[in-house]
Symmetry: C2
Subunit: 222 residues, 2 copies
């Protein structure tokens, strides 16, 4: 969680001004991607243009067009850069605690001002490139969070055959659903409530194999 562009599991934000590592190419990329985030936060997808990004970054517009092509290419690279970090999920000592801390990061990202993560999600409905990059970013985050489930299994909190992705989606989906789709006002209890529900379901074996249609557990799957 120390790289410039990523505060948590859920996305990028502009880095504070500082000296960039790497050569000229890396420096230009960092300037351009930061400019994308600032423009996106200020104007949303509709106000985002390659020309405005180039002007804000202090980079020639021909360079931006050549390297990123269009707004979709810029957004995709923002997400790819955000995923290129060393973020790891919280480690609090319990499954419920880890999920609650993860949800807390998600809630903060989804309600942050300027609303960059929300704007990226909205942009994913406009640009296929951004949509695919967001998918890659999220799948990588869920994969990293597998360690939360592994630790819980090692502690004996969960059955060994627990489906990590399904548990993690159950724990985090209510936050996205309420804040992004239902547009429910943010509630400080939401992260912990959703974590607790998923942890209780997990402890009851909800994610330890999918039952066959009849509703009883199939020996071949568990």
């Amino acid at each position: 969680m120390t790289t410039p562009a990523v505060p948590g599991p859920e996305g990028p934000r502009p880095a504070p001004a500082r000296r960039r590592p790497g050569g000229r190419t890396a420096r230009i990329r960092a300037q351009v991607l930061d400019a994308v985030l600032v423009e996106l936060g200020e104007h949303g997808y509709d106000g985002l243009t390659v020309d405005a990004v180039a002007a804000r970054a202090g980079v020639h517009r021909a360079t931006v067009y050549r390297r990123w092509g269009d707004v979709g290419g810029l957004l995709a690279d923002v997400l790819d850069a955000a995923g290129d970090d060393d973020w790891q999920p919280p480690d609090t000592g319990s499954l419920e605690g880890d999920l609650a801390a993860l949800n807390q990061e998600i809630q903060e990202a989804l309600t942050a001002r300027p609303p960059i993560v929300a704007a990226l999600i909205a942009a994913s409905f406009r640009s296929e490139k951004a949509a695919h990059a967001q998918q890659r970013f999220w799948e990588d985050r869920y994969a990293r969070c597998g360690t939360v489930v592994d630790r819980a299994v090692r502690r004996g909190e969960l059955p060994p055959q627990t489906d990590a992705r399904r548990l993690l989606v159950a724990a985090t989906a209510p936050l996205y659903h309420q804040l992004v789709l239902l547009r429910t006002p943010s509630d400080p209890r939401m992260p912990g409530d959703a974590a607790r529900a998923a942890a209780l379901a997990a402890a009851a074996g909800a994610f330890a194999g999918s039952p066959p249609a009849g509703g009883t557990r199939g020996a071949s799957r568990s």
Copy 2:
């Protein structure tokens, strides 16, 4: 589930051609809203224009502009009309069965061709009017689904103080998250899996009041 524009909990689709009840005003509204759905399904939000809707509906464009104003107004009215029906949630005899049947309807709506519900969700990121109408539609659907929880409480499946909305969001959110945001390919087990997880969490008391920060149940809330 018998009104022309609504197949289930999750949204509208064009009605088959048939005689409309009501007078000329109602007939024009039905023609225009059906035309919105067809245009949206064929071209998405970007291809949706008042003029194309008017032409397809066989209604003078001045009438459409006067009554609906713009594309956002048309989409909002589609959603308001969709909510003006007698849809009730499934009644299968068990909480898990009801939630699974509900999720099945949601999965079908979200993966339908043409992708009208998906296009309406995408449009809600473009138009404030559509976003507010979608919120109203969903809140009304969740309120109607409260009967699923009431029945489960009466059957003794759930504690009486269960928070219906929180349980329903937990049951349905994984479908929306996977199909709309993560763009996970549809899986026939998804509706039942998410229903089962929520039912197990509910039976364990996950939605019977929110615990205080320490993690133990507060007497004042339960």
